[in-house]
Symmetry: C2
């Protein structure tokens, strides 16, 4: 008799959010393949973190794809010429709605990542794709909104064999899961702690110390992360440069 676990792809960046998504997918009984990208990030700490996190959840199938986003450029995260913006810790710009798009936005990144996960899903026969986008903290990113996720799910079911061959069903064959979409950072952290995420393994900082990999504590990602742990009432396991 065959096992009947549903196969799923989890997009894993090495950060706090996608580690939590992996825990959620695991908790939903999925047989998981993680997909990470070596896309010309400024540092490799992110990619090292994906392996540690996937290992911690006993994920056997870990796929890393090398893609050349640096050739496209256009973002502070993949070029060397734009400075990563720094904040002091009391900066409140991440609270509430914002219509401005941060310079750390990578053009079409989530579209590209979801496209590859769709190809991989089709090849391995997975019908579920999990992505850690979040509309609360990242309201400035166009591709972190529910409209975007819905539009991609629609596209996915038009673009693929499995979608087309099952288009008579009530439910689309391919599902894009974005379980963090409407959670705050502290809610994400509390959910992850519940599901056994070891947050010390995750890496969020945009601008880590090049030797130690310790987090700068001042970039957008660090500020959000620190505030999240504080608001969740959970000790922050992150190693900061300034500690």
């Amino acid at each position: 008799m065959e096992a009947h676990l549903r196969k799923a792809i989890v997009l894993l960046s090495g950060g706090l959010d996608s580690a939590t998504v992996l825990a959620i997918a695991k908790n939903e009984g999925m047989e998981i393949t993680t997909l990470s990208f070596d896309y010309g990030q400024r540092h490799r700490f992110e990619l090292d973190a994906t392996e540690r996190i996937a290992d911690s959840f006993n994920v056997v199938n870990q796929v890393v794809m090398k893609i050349d986003l640096r050739a496209i450029g256009g973002s502070a995260l993949t070029t060397d010429t734009i400075d990563v913006p720094k904040h002091n810790q009391d900066d409140d710009r991440f609270q509430g709605e914002s219509s401005s798009i941060p310079v750390t936005y990578v053009p079409a990144r989530n579209t590209i990542f979801l496209s590859f996960s769709l190809a991989l899903a089709e090849v391995i026969g997975a019908n579920d794709i999990y992505i850690g986008v979040n509309a609360v903290d990242y309201s400035g990113y166009p591709d972190c909104r529910p409209e975007f996720i819905n539009a991609f799910e629609r596209l996915a079911n038009l673009a693929t064999k499995v979608g087309v061959e099952n288009n008579h069903r009530d439910q689309p064959a391919l599902r894009i899961h974005a379980p963090l979409l409407n959670l705050t950072k502290s809610q994400i952290i509390r959910c992850g702690i519940e599901l056994g995420v070891e947050y010390r393994l995750t890496h969020s900082c945009y601008d880590p110390d090049p030797e130690s990999g310790n987090a700068c504590g001042l970039c957008d990602a660090c500020v959000l992360r620190r505030k999240g742990f504080k608001q969740a009432g959970v000790p922050d396991p992150t190693q900061y440069v300034s500690d």
Copy 2:
């Protein structure tokens, strides 16, 4: 005073269709950047052809992105273990509708290619993306249908700065142009001849001679191409192995 050419991305594969699309975009007055992919094709003749074609239309900005589709596998075009299907020339399977999906289908390929073109469009400030998909000859490919193109255009305008910032307008800011969508191969060829496409520069064969690059004459792509020239009443400039 600034020049007011609209910037456009043309996805260029080296084949007959995308060469024709380039000619169409040029004819519509666009300032063109071509985008081609080095995606682990079995042979490099395709990529060599993209350069010749872009040069023949005096395209200055030619971007080639290296991506790792081979790591995903799942198609006769990117793996070495599935044979490319061969036909005799009188085979009519490409005429009319077909619900079967050919083994030469690359999972989510057009979704991936369009995603990268979207990223590039955003970075260079292009609002128009041209792609040579065709629903007539390739009715078996899910991502060669008008529904797919429309769904991607919708996604594109939700996924990007320019789409979001102009969502109050009547027309979407980003347009996906698929001018060959409803043309037969012979109509495509006649259109291209009109617009100065040098078809001898293009490469369609899935399984060319490894030394000369000459076309096999028997694979799906060759059969379609031969028939197209015949029906268009235009001499076929292709070098076939059997010639």
